[in-house]
Homo-oligomer: 328 residues x 2
DNA sequence: TTGAAAGCGCTAACAA
DNA sequence: TTGTTAGCGCTTTCAA
């Protein structure tokens, strides 16, 4: 099989007694070629385990056949599942276009990993896994002129975005809660640097018009969440809306500490569902998204951009409201 | 800056009025070259933002300057943090060798993603993120003759392994618990297909000699854990050892349901620590490892193999026993 | 110490 | 429809 070095297109051409451009044409499907020759080549390749060298192909076409997947290197535990599913979506669709995925991490204003792969010409395009306000990565990518797509939303003009429709989703869940008769509702949110945090808050406010609300933001550790929950409970609120699954987890923990029952003592809902929440009793009312789909769409869109097709500037994906016992 | 196409080595050579082989030598440091010329070239490159094209370099050296990072595509939530840190370690050290990281996923006997990147010559070597018994990925990699390193242990001969010293660590924690006077101890473990599961069980048994134990394996969902915990509690055991953080989380949840206090009702320890466990009160006695270090070592080792240096067959990294309130 | 030129494996323009 | 050939941008002999 693998006797030393890999087969090249020249080997194939020689064995088949045809020219290598014919082989190339047979493989790529570009250019005129008789069905016969084409099939002959394809058959041969099939059984000879010849694989075109992507370095050579890349050099010749000035492409890398890699897309860059850029994610925070030090994020919350909770985001990891999201990124994993999203990445799986990216990989699945990249493969279809014969692309692979180069991964790099960024963090705390450090986008050197991103710079590295773009300046070194290691990728043909980039998918950014999350968006911030004043996003250094987005600014850099815009300037670089490399095709890129962001998962999430941004106000930066001209950026191609694929996102869940957080605002609508949150508005809908909030208004359902309102219809259920909640009178005083706390929103506990996380990192305000993230665009998504703001979108969810906005949806919340839109859905809760007329209801008394109290907002706690940047609750990024247990202590802060606990403090907010304590305050919420003693203020006599009847519902807590958690911005994401991690916060919800901490809220549930806090309520246990405070010996407040859900939903009899207080209702709880989460604006993001995940495995983190699957074992609570009662189960948590939450918004469900499909990160896999998100990754696939982002990658499909990026492939379009890379191939010069024009892509929609902003795609919003669906959601699902799952009403469970925690808001009964 | 980026006026159309990237600078090439020819541009540099022309601007400096020297040959491109000289430029190449200046950059690589290989071959004889005067300190003067070398510096001149380096200075020029510094300010001209020239970046060698890795496709061309790769084609010429038959290298890709990519390492493959292979992880399960559909794993437990809990492993994700481990993989993330590990990956960060891999990336950090890959960069130093001017390599990037190509990511691919495998799952349930499906190693097509791995096959893809190796057969397509997209990587110079592979790091496998976890090991199974009867591991199809390991078998494939061995046959492929591509340099590779596994994170984890395997009985497969000749495979280069980097792992935490699970057996010693678990033995040590178990024997500490024994010294603390536990009389009847349950071990609740996960997927027995994973090598690591077995290592931990082995360490547990070695450390618990003479103590009455009961073993529950393959507890991979809440229901199974709950059942094991219920049985354990009603059998009058005084300690539960959890094989990993996720199981520990479910054990704690179960104990809460059963209204058994920790540590007064029963002691709890975990053979793997992570953020999942950080918010419990009392805090959980657990084994701490450093996945970042693991990733770094794996990648360093892989780079050695790629560069033809010989590498140790098996490296075991340290651990830390952190005694907390849950076993007081 | 430096330069010229061949070659890495592929694509694509041009010829036949 | 197929073949010839000139690159893609780099490394590496081999000469100078």
């Amino acid at each position: 099989m693998d006797n030393g070095k890999a087969k090249t297109i020249d080997d194939v051409a020689r064995d088949l007694k045809i020219s290598k451009s014919t082989v190339s044409r047979a493989i790529s499907g570009k250019g005129r070629i008789s069905a016969d020759t084409r099939q002959k080549v394809l058959d041969y390749i099939e059984k000879s385990n010849y694989r075109p060298n992507p370095m050579a192909k890349g050099l010749s076409e000035s492409r890398t056949f890699n897309v860059g997947w850029v994610v925070p290197g030090n994020d919350y535990m909770t985001s990891l599942y999201f990124y994993q599913r999203c990445l799986q979506g990216v990989i699945n669709t990249a493969i279809k276009a014969d692309y692979d995925v180069l991964i790099t991490t960024i963090g705390e204003g450090d986008i050197s990993g991103l710079k590295r792969i773009t300046e070194n010409h290691k990728v043909d395009g980039v998918i950014l896994g999350r968006t911030l306000y004043k996003d250094a990565a987005i600014a850099y990518l815009k300037a670089s002129r490399l095709p890129f797509v962001v998962v999430g939303s941004t106000e930066e003009p001209g950026v191609i975005q694929v996102d869940n429709d957080h605002i609508s989703a949150c508005r809908e869940l909030a208004s359902i809660l309102k219809m259920k008769g909640v009178k005083k509702v706390a929103f506990i949110g996380g990192d305000t640097e993230l665009v998504v945090t703001d979108s969810r808050l906005r949806g919340f406010k839109e859905g809760m018009t007329g209801v008394r609300t109290q907002i706690y933001m940047d609750c990024d550790d247990y202590e802060k969440v606990k403090r907010s929950v304590t305050e919420t409970v003693s203020s006599g609120a009847d519902c807590i809306v958690c911005e994401d699954d991690r916060i919800c987890q901490m809220v549930m923990e806090s309520l246990k500490d405070l010996e407040v029952e859900v939903p009899s003592g207080i209702k709880v809902a989460s604006f993001y569902d995940s495995k983190l929440l699957e074992n609570y009793k009662p189960q948590i009312t939450a918004l469900k998204y499909d990160p896999l789909e998100l990754g696939m769409r982002a990658c499909e869109t990026l492939m379009d951009v890379i191939n010069g097709k024009k892509a929609e500037k902003r795609q919003l994906l669906g959601y699902e409201v799952t009403l469970k016992g925690s808001t009964q």
